[in-house]
């Protein structure tokens, strides 16, 4: 056990799984880096270094650089998965899914059902999500609702290094297509992460903080924000329970309903525009299944219905920020 960053935890998960199972391959743009160049090959390991070192250990047959052709990347992964491999494909920024979305939602995610249960497609799509990096409207989205709505796909949003490792190992060993959404603002966050391989099952929320007055549900990079606001509220004597579902599909409805059953008040914190968001999804679920428990309207702290703006002050305001989270919490608490 040692302190490891979220980035290192992901790298370690990949490495350990590749060592364990020769069918596991990594494929994407610059996952090695330097192919065909005059200098070093394999020294890049993804634009954020997450696949660093894998090429040196596993070589070009298992750490496969590709042209900038995301549809062909996803198709290559799903075709390989259908025929016996366990590919981990990378779509660098989740924003790029628009050029390969068909291969995800109409192909990989539907094979099993369309083919009457006779195919399996064990593949993982790793991708980077989120705003706060000043990367503008086409490199800062999260888009988890887009994936959560897809039958046949599983959606993972780790909020810390420990979860990232365990969830990624679980994803690689899972027999269904999984999208694994890495938060670029969390890459450098560190914590204790076991050295050995371990799995975290999908659909099992983490109660990131226990509380009794109010429930926060937050996803991925919003979890640390929720925790920070919970800490602030604790100083005022308010006890907030923070639920990190870890996977949005499957979603651990029970954990959320149990918590709301206890607190009666819910605020969902979700980094996406409001319409058809995870915030709406959770709120609707609780409004249906937890109706009797609710003592106040469900708060939804989301981004506005706008693209991600570039200017730092606009982007900070765009994100569900501590001020807005706290306001929503106080509104929920004050409701009688």
């Amino acid at each position: 056990m040692a302190r490891k960053s979220y980035r290192q935890a992901i790298n370690e998960a990949l490495r350990q799984e590749m060592r364990r199972d020769s069918k596991v391959i990594v494929i994407g743009e610059d996952v090695a880096g330097g192919q065909g160049a005059s200098g070093e090959t394999g020294g890049v390991g993804g634009v954020f270094g997450v696949t660093g070192g894998l090429y040196k250990e596993f070589g070009p047959e298992r750490v496969i650089d590709t042209p900038i052709s995301e549809s062909a990347i996803i198709g290559a992964a799903s075709g390989a998965a259908l025929t016996g491999m366990r590919p981990v494909a990378e779509i660098m920024f989740v924003d790029f899914v628009g050029v390969c979305f068909d291969q995800i939602y109409n192909q990989a995610a539907k094979f099993r059902y369309m083919f009457g249960g006779k195919a399996k497609t064990p593949m993982v799509i790793r991708t980077m999500i989120g705003a706060g990096f000043r990367a503008g409207a086409q490199h800062s989205q999260t888009l988890h609702p887009l994936f959560t709505m897809i039958p046949g796909l599983k959606v993972v949003m780790p909020s810390n290094a420990y979860d990232a490792k365990g969830l990624l190992i679980n994803a690689i060993r899972d027999d269904d297509p999984v999208i694994f959404m890495e938060s670029k603002v969390l890459y450098d966050t560190e914590m204790e992460v076991p050295d050995e391989a371990y799995r975290i099952a999908f659909g099992e929320a983490n109660i990131a903080r226990e509380g009794k007055d109010l429930t926060f549900v937050a996803f991925g990079p919003m979890v640390p924000r929720a925790l920070a606001v919970a800490e602030v509220l604790a100083k005022d004597g308010v006890s907030v329970e923070v639920i990190d579902p870890r996977t949005t599909s499957p979603l651990d409805e029970d954990a959320i309903l149990d918590s709301v059953g206890k607190t009666g008040r819910l605020v969902v914190i979700d980094e996406s525009p409001p319409r058809c968001s995870l915030a709406a999804d959770v709120a609707a679920m609780v409004a249906s299944k937890g109706f009797r428990s609710l003592k106040a309207p469900i708060g939804q702290v989301t981004c506005p219905h706008t693209p991600v703006p570039f200017a730092p002050n606009l982007e900070d305001e765009f994100l569900p920020n501590p001020r807005r989270i706290e306001e929503a919490a106080r509104a929920a608490l004050s409701w009688r």
Binding site: T66, A72, G75, A76, F115
Partner: protein, 321 residues
Amino acid sequence: MQLSRDDLKRAYRGMSTIRAFEERVDKEFALGNIPGFAHVYLGQEASGIGVCFDLSDEDQIGSTHRGHGHCIAKGCDVKGMMLEIMGKAGGLCGGKGGSMHIADMSKGMLGANAIVGGSPPIAVGAALTQKLLKTGKVAVAFSGDGASNQGTTFEALNMAVVLGVPAIFAFENNGYGEHTAASYAVGAPSIAERAKSFGMPAEVVDGSDFFAVHDAMGRALERGRAGEGPYALEIVCSRFLGHFVGDPQAYRLPEELAQARANDPLARFRTKVTEASLLDDADLNAIDAEVLAQIEEAVALAIAAPRPDLSTLEQDVYVRY
């Protein structure tokens, strides 16, 4: 390549099966026994059979919306297919797929695909498996002339070259993508030349001639099996009927349709093998008769079969959820 009498019979049986199957699909559709759409492969039989003739169950193919012929050529069970197309229990996909989604992993048939351009990237993936596992097997991507213009198809061509995988791109140019002529929609002078410019060998083949297709595929397979990379075939053929069953085809003159029929791949095969005294009419007629009986049986079975149980609706979305 010299084919034995048994091979020739097998080739003819394949084409005859497709012919009989599709003519029956056309008829059953008109009778209301087939839900949704159906795109039949009539006129293109020599292409599917020629391409798949030397493939094993471990060679993979990715197919299109016009996939029945590819399925048959790759060895899928016609009963299972007919059940599937009619949306019945026991269909190859349990009735959940339908005409445009027939698949059979055990036969290396990775699925018909209702998205034009959907299959080529997937076939590249299957070819990647072949390369990585050093199987000496290949993966074929069937695409139409229309699909040759889809971005995903182009990406697959380039990816196959870059990764050096044994993918074979079989472009079935039947002159039309739906109701638009390839001469309009393919800006390039030739699909084969365009594929070649991506960095792979490519050739144009007479797709109504089983022997021409089979020969060209032999060259593609040789390269693929030797691990030398991808290959493209532009297989020029004709669609006897409309885009989907029921298309009135006012955009095609009667002469054009007549010409297509005059170039019937089954008739050409028959002429060739009987003139060369390799098989005689009786051999071929016997095959036709057997095939018809087989299709008749499949249809009777499918019509009588029950719909899938409603309990299957929510099954098999995931392996486990």
